[in-house]
Amino acid sequence: MIWLTWRQFRPQAIAAVGALAAMAIVLAATRPGLSSGYAAAGLSACHAHCATAASIFLDRVGNFDKFLDFGGVLLIIVAPVLMGLFWGAPLIAREVAEGTHRIAWNQSVTRTRWTIVKLGLVGLAAISTAGLLSLMVTWWASPIDAASLAGGSAQAGTGGNGVHITFNGFGEARLDPVIFDARGVAPLGYAALAFALGVTVGVLLRRTLPAMALTLVAFVAIQVLMPNFVRPHLLPPAHFTAPLSTQHGQVGTNVGTGITDIQLTGSFAKPGAWVLSDTVITPSGAQPSDIIMTPAGPEFTVLPRACTPTPGSGFNPVPCRETLAAMHLRQAVTYQPASRFWPLQWIETGIYLLLTAGLGWVCVWQVRRRRTP
Amino acid sequence: MIDFHLNSRSGVAPYLQLIRQVRQALQLGLLREGDQLPTVKDVAGSLAINPNTVLKAYRSLEYEGLAAAKPGVGTFVTKTVSDQSVVAHQRLSMELSAWIGRAQQAGLDFEDMEALFQRAARAAAQEEAV
């Protein structure tokens, strides 16, 4: 049974090994460049207050390396989906659709054993592939991750010649939802679940293409729901409040609306943290009710109604600042600290693996039901 | 050795056809005492017929004393057609020719004669079975 599973999986295995090998070569070739840039910015020697050096390093990372970083993240996020679609969905659906289940289930091996071996071996291959991919990319990106952890941030357009591009997520903390999915052990859980989902949908629908479509929809739905609704609550989030200073707020006029207002800056600065909510509150903890403002930080634009300029007269910032100061506004932040990266990874992966086991059980149960002549 | 063939349209049961072919071969001297008949699996495999049919034919031949089975080896012819039965066959042949002449005079053609013969043969077979 092991031989048969391998033989049927061989073309996909070869494709995967090829892709992994190509990836490995490219990453191995470019990593030394990153390491030397890291050292050149003084980060290897820096032990405290490294934010400036980190920003310099991140800024100097070349376009190709940025592209690789982006590509690596993309690949790890896409890999589980691909495996669910091309390794999982056809695993049993194709056998039933082509009638070869009439051969497979009439040798001297029970259906239970047949299902468990196929699920186990190909599932293991999926998890291993995701694991290897994650290992390679995490290793390659460790200088970038360390720099963002140190408080660095990339700015586009400065440093060196040529066009500098950046993308949402470059140099972002590992807890950032996009990056989180592509680091650590999480990809293993995703690969396992996507694969198991594909196989189960395939067993239920018994046709490969509809199974692939449904697997795609279901898995994408799960991957959207998890970081937005589940992950923030896996561990109790931390809270931060501090007074919001109004003295140094910048006065500015919004070009579009013509409204003049005051811009305040929050004081929350925890590098690598995952901010869940960042709001302005009154001392009693409630939402301020008589100022117009943008709802979320880290920079707040506020305009007390009391200061709204009347048509004809100009905007006088001094009484406005006094009105604001009297409100004693505070910044309230809910966040997951950077140190929660690994605990969240393990908890989430554990959940996915549990779901995978459940789906595996459903598969075996459905295959054993005698309803497919 | 003998090569069997089957006429699926003759209306004669396959096992009877096999028996007849063995008898004919014996009469023509193509099979002699000690010759081995083809194995059941070879006959079944070349004619694509049920092995039990071949077994039935061979058992019938054994019952008639024309062949005997040696377990693990095969089925062998035990009797060469004697000159006596050749003489009997010749006599029957002559009687048959005389009958055919009389039937033609009565106005029967060859198909009518065949029908008469088949009906009489079937009746005789049924009587035997009872």
């Binding site: 049927q8 009439r102 289930w105 009439n106 040798q107 029970t110 | 699926s8």
Partner: protein
């Protein structure tokens, strides 16, 4: 017969899909050591019966036992039964040699020598992918896979329906040769009696999800007669002669009757019936009484 355990034994077996019974009220005992033909028009329930016998479907009512055990109830039972499904499926992407390796890995009693000899005799290229084989070659490959497993019972679902006459003959030749060699029991379905006439010595006629008649071919042929004679109503025949079909034209009546006693009434011309005509009689709309009797041959 080689053993007293029946090849397939069913009691009140039925399978329902929604409101439709694909197989109903099926009670039969197919003896081992025979080549049993399962014949009936398309949609009669042949594939359903075979699927129930191989454990691909579970019964709605009744029971079925194969070689004394429940279908597909474990590796031991699975090893005793070989199955060639309709259209003789093979793995299109696997080569002939791969198929044999499949058999070797998944069957403890695999006879590698037999498999190799069969493939050589068929002049199949071991490296050829099964998807590139002709219909006849694929059928032979599927048969080899089932035979080299050394089962006690071989079940085939319309294996030669889509083959040309040469391929058909070659398939049956191999089947009969190995049946003789291994003393196999065989259950083979077809919608054509002609396919089964040469090879079957037991027959089951399935029509509209029910068994119309089953029995040894020799018995069936000996107990069915075609009677021609002066015009009479079917009811006037003696009770020992069960009328299967009747037709009347002018002053003549023709009856197909079933009787275990010989026909001695001189008014009748009694003829033998060919297997094909016998089956057609049971498959026709005029067969059987309105009460739908289930007919069995009494051993």
């Amino acid at each position: 017969m080689s053993s007293t355990t029946a090849a397939i034994e069913a009691h009140g077996l039925g399978k329902r899909y929604g409101h439709r019974w694909a197989l109903a009220d099926c009670t039969l005992t197919i003896p081992a050591g025979h080549v049993a033909g399962l014949v009936g028009p398309n949609g009669a329930g042949k594939t359903t019966l075979i699927s129930l016998a191989t454990g691909m479907l579970a019964p709605t009512t009744g029971t079925i036992e194969v070689l004394g055990g429940l279908p597909a109830s474990g590796p031991g039972q699975l090893a005793r039964v070989g199955y060639v499904a309709q259209d003789t499926p093979t793995y299109a992407g696997l080569s002939v040699a791969d198929h044999l390796r499949l058999g070797a890995h998944l069957n403890p009693r695999w006879d590698a020598g037999l498999a190799r000899r069969r493939i050589e005799q068929l002049s199949l290229d071991p490296k050829q992918k099964a998807g590139r084989l002709s219909g006849g070659q694929r059928a032979q490959l599927a048969l080899t896979l089932a035979l080299a497993k050394r089962p006690e019972l071989l079940i085939l679902d319309e294996p030669i329906a889509s083959l040309d006459p040469v391929a058909r003959r070659e398939f049956l030749q191999v089947l009969m040769h190995v049946t003789a060699e291994q003393e196999l029991s065989v259950v083979m379905s077809s919608h054509l009696v002609a396919d089964l006439e040469r090879v079957a010595d037991y027959l089951v006629v399935l029509v509209a999800s029910r068994v119309r008649i089953d029995g040894e071919v020799d018995d069936l042929l000996a107990t069915h007669h075609l009677l021609t004679g002066p015009r009479r109503a079917a009811a006037t025949l003696p009770a020992s002669q069960q009328v299967i079909t009747d037709s009347h034209a002018g002053r003549q009546s023709t009856f197909l009757v079933r009787s275990s006693e010989p026909i001695i009434d001189p008014a009748w011309t009694a003829e033998e019936v060919s297997l094909e005509d016998l089956v057609l009689a049971y498959m026709g709309p005029s067969s059987g009484s309105p009460q739908e009797q289930r007919l069995e041959v009494h051993q």
